[in-house]
Amino acid sequence: MLALIPLLPFGGFLVNAFLGKRLPKSVSGGLATLMMVLSFAIALMQVLALAGMPAESRQINQTLFTWLTAGDFSLDLALRLDALSAVMILVVTGIGSLIHLYSTSYMHEETDAEFARFFSYLNLFCFFMLMLVLGANFLVMFVGWEGVGLCSYLLIGYYYEKKSASDAANKAFIVNRVGDFAFILGTLLTVVTFNSLDFNTIAMAVKAMPEEAAFGTLSLITLLLFIGATGKSAQIPLYVWLPDAMEGPTPVSALIHAATMVTAGVYMIGRNAMLFEHAPMTLHIVAIIGAATALFAGTIGLVQNDIKRVLAYSTVSQLGYMFLAMGVGAYGAGIFHLYTHAFFKACLFLGSGAVIHALHGEQDIRNMGGLKKYIPVTYWTFVIASVAIAGVPLLSGFFSKDEILFETFLEGHQVLWGIGILTSLLTATYMFRLVHLTFHGEERFHGAPAGAETAAAGAHHAAHGHDAHAHDTHHDHGHGHGKPHDAPWPMAAALIVLAVGSIVAGYVNIPHALGGHAGLHEWLTPVFNVTNCGEVSTTGELAGMMLEPCTPVEERNPEEHAGLELTLMLVSSLIAIAGIGLATYLWLKHREIPARLAAQYPGVHRLLLNKYYVDEVYDATIVQPIKVVSTEGLWRGFDVKVVDGAVNGAGYLVSGFSIVLRLLQNGSVKTYAASIFAGAVAVLAYYLWR
């Protein structure tokens, strides 16, 4: 039953991949969406079955077959559903279904074959993503891990005839390779250390080990795995591919590059919480990288002008929050933020898609403005999601973000907490800058009612209309040119469901301080119960000793810190509202101030606008040296001189010998006969006189 969850989308992929060209759009798109909905239904049933079990034994295992055996090491293709993967499959199939539904309308301008290609990739992605989260061991997870990378590549490069899209796809794939390489090394080191790849077995083995005070094997394993996570989840230093990934169609950005795939790294750390918990040094690095990424990406997001790029940097920033949570040991909070983020970020991306759709491919927010009255559904859903991500009280983002910040503070990382709060301010500010520039203020879009800026906007349109989107053909479809039109029903439905989700998703985990009972935490406790408190070691010199005295986790939470938690909540709520206010002041009421600031500090502005020149630095320090080494060293040096030299040398050697040897073949039958005779005599002589 468990296997059906990933296999249904895989079936959809097969049909669309092989028959898609001959199917009308309604069939190929409908089939893909149906498969996802069915998968969601089965996932829901399985999770309900899981919830019916006693908390300590909440696991559903399914072994499909033994994959490989080598000596005493064997590995199954096994799936496992537990509290953590339950959250993930619901997010993947649920949000995935909505995005499939949205795509049936968004991609409608494509030809039948292209449309089916899109949906086959999308279904394949869901298959791999579900394998990733359901895999019971590292190898199955790795298959999913690589598979989603492949689908990400295919979908970023969906408009492959466009140079920038195929470049972005290559960039994503290559940058991910770097991380994946570290992930493979980490996996191999796991096999060497534990002689197993099964998550449960590893967790049990780790549980009996003491925490690593110095840098040891566990730290190395976790560090390598984390480097893998920085690639997939776009953290410093491997985040550079994600903003470029926005070249893909917008639903792809929503599904893969916001809601699901990029959270794989966070999930992976959660899956191996026991391992990471025993390597405090790595955890510390995770926390610092997470906080740094959150702030870094937030500052870039503040000045970008492409609607999708702002959201992309926002995604990077929010992923940084999740890693911060993982790093301070607040695994539940990290997963909680992953889950709420999936709703509001998917909603924001789909909303941006609806805006781009309405404006026939325009992505530059300088050429938008005043869209509120033309596309009300998009507007309201976008605003709700923005409020949620900003962390305004009582929406989903508030609960999850607050919890991360609270846990960070409580674990004694006040500096990281400060960075988190600052990022929170930035988040609120850049999101509402986006809202104001897109939906409020004067109308600056192409074909807007006559205004002074229209001509300028038109010029921008030519320069920046870089989504070579099928929507360009919109003009011929009688949609009218001047008035932007709101999203058609499948898009609107997805937006509304996600907006509602952005509001209510947080209520599954109301903190104790607000009188809730932290339901999600309770649900995840069996997975994240990582302290080896009360465990009696059975191995080594510690045998018989209690590893750690018990300090029950539950006691810490309810009353003792409620005051602190409430205070911190108040602070971050005020920060969020301040951020929104600041954005309103700067980009709605006094639009000249940002321009003046930019003019006043041109260096800072240029630095931010050019994303801290990280791409350029990478190009100069990594890409160009590799190119030089490859061209001059490996190609002209090694390949031409050594490889070709060896091949040609072998040829010359043979022909040199043959100049002498071929003299034997002189064509004279008598000589041959004499040779045969001489040979026969020699053989006879040998036997007679030996």
């Binding site: 071929r662 073949q665 064509g667 004279s668 039958v669 008598k670 006969a673 005779f677």
Partner: protein, 99 residues
């Protein structure tokens, strides 16, 4: 008659055939010489067979004769074809099949 006599005769015939193959310059004579060599071997087989009291030597001889007949047929056909080509039967005239 002791076995030695037969073997000496067989060896002599074989030597004569070999000498013919090396010394004569006519392809037909060459073929005849090869036949003499084959028959020398046949003689040895039959002699051994008689000494051992079995028919094995004679059976092999029949095989050799069959093969020799086939060889002579093919060989003569080749000789005719070669002669039409070069107007010569000297084996030294046919050395273009080299390198």
């Amino acid at each position: 008659m002791p076995l030695g006599h037969y073997l000496v005769l067989s060896g002599l015939l074989f030597a004569i055939g070999t000498a013919g193959v090396f010394l004569r310059r006519n392809l037909i004579t060459l073929l005849l010489s090869v036949e003499i060599m084959l028959n020398a071997v046949n003689l040895a087989f039959v002699a051994f067979g008689r000494v051992q009291g079995t028919v094995d030597g004679q059976i092999i001889t029949f095989f050799v004769m069959t093969v020799a007949a086939a060889e002579a047929a093919v060989g003569l056909a080749l000789v005719i074809a070669l002669f039409r080509h070069r107007e010569s039967l000297n084996p030294e005239a046919f050395t273009s099949l080299k390198w």
